[in-house]
């Protein structure tokens, strides 16, 4: 299945978001995609699937729009 994946972690280092179209097996989770994109989410993560808050265990389906952002809490 094809998934459009966007990571904002690269904005942390002054870059643009990383955007990839991934061809993945059925049953792929958000965590699988983050591993595929080499994202270190050990400090937590914000996952949006089709703009809705989700989590690492959420299973994606064909055509989903996946976005991942770092956890941002300081002021």
């Amino acid at each position: 299945m094809k998934i459009q994946a966007k990571s904002f972690f690269t904005v942390l280092s002054g870059g643009r978001p990383t955007i990839k179209t991934l061809d993945l097996p059925e049953g792929t989770t958000a965590e699988d995609i983050m591993n595929e994109m080499n994202i270190d989410f050990s400090d937590g993560v914000i996952v949006l699937i089709n703009g809705r808050p989700s989590n690492e265990k959420t299973v994606l389906v064909e055509g989903d729009d996946f976005a991942v952002m770092p956890p941002v809490s300081a002021a």
Binding site: F8, V11, L12, G14, G15, R16, P17, D43, G44, I46, L48, N50, G51, R52, P53, S54, N55, A67, M69, P70, P71, V72, S73, A74, A75
Partner: protein
């Protein structure tokens, strides 16, 4: 000093009626650290009538790289009282009420009930969630946060937008020192203050959207966020 003189340049842009409108507004600012200092200063210079500022922190040396209302001579003193003193002296047109409280531990519901809106300038998720819990249903809350030179902000409107507790589910207090520099603080603080004004005027730009800011790369993007 006449209000019309102090705000002559504002009135030239948005008119006396709008200036009078802002003078009637009351806002709550949760946290007067980096973002809170900027948001509060801008709102005072815009002519908001009343600000309630809440924080229980003390001014420490690591605050001086980005917390714009404080100086070397304020070290060791409570943030809210110094911030209130500085904010009152900027224009003399805003009533500033300091609350030396910890959001999440102290009851602020009664205070929030008298406010038109809230700025969430807190520095950790549990306190932000506690402020959201206390948010009255008829108010807006502009929430902003930083990491390094990355920032994000959104408007939280009960019953209409995603809640912070949904968006940041499962996230807690950071266990390490979070890097933050002044450039992103001033940029995101300024954007937050603008979004507060937008909400007061009934035209929020970020209700249902997250604005992501990458400072060194001059990156800005609005991302649609829907309730789960």
């Amino acid at each position: 000093m006449k209000r019309e003189d102090v705000f002559a340049r504002n009135i030239a842009l948005w008119g006396k009626e709008q200036q009078d409108f802002l003078a009637e507004k009351s806002l709550f600012i949760g946290g007067v650290g980096a973002l809170g200092c900027i948001v509060a200063e801008i709102l005072v210079r815009c002519g908001v009538g009343r600000l309630i500022i809440a924080d229980r922190g003390i001014i420490d040396p690591p605050d001086l790289n980005r917390q714009a209302l404080y100086t070397l001579y304020d070290l060791g003193r409570p943030k809210v009282y110094i911030a209130a003193e500085r904010l009152k002296s900027l224009t003399g047109q805003t009533e500033v009420i300091p609350m030396n409280v910890s959001i999440g531990d102290d009851d602020i519901a009664g205070v929030l009930a008298g406010c038109d809106g809230i700025a969430d300038c807190l520095d950790n998720f549990p306190s932000r969630f506690a402020l959201e819990e206390a948010q009255p249903g008829n108010t807006f809350m502009v929430s902003g946060a930083l990491l390094g030179d990355y920032g994000q902000l959104t408007s939280v409107i009960p019953g209409r937008t995603v809640r912070l507790q949904e968006l940041f589910a499962g996230l807690g207090k950071a266990a390490r020192t979070i890097p933050v520099t002044s450039t992103i603080v001033f940029a995101v603080g300024s954007l937050m203050a603008q979004e507060v004004l937008n909400n007061l005027r009934g035209k929020p730009q970020l209700a249902g959207e997250l604005l992501v800011v990458g400072m060194s790369g001059f990156f800005l993007e609005r991302i649609a966020v829907k309730p789960a």
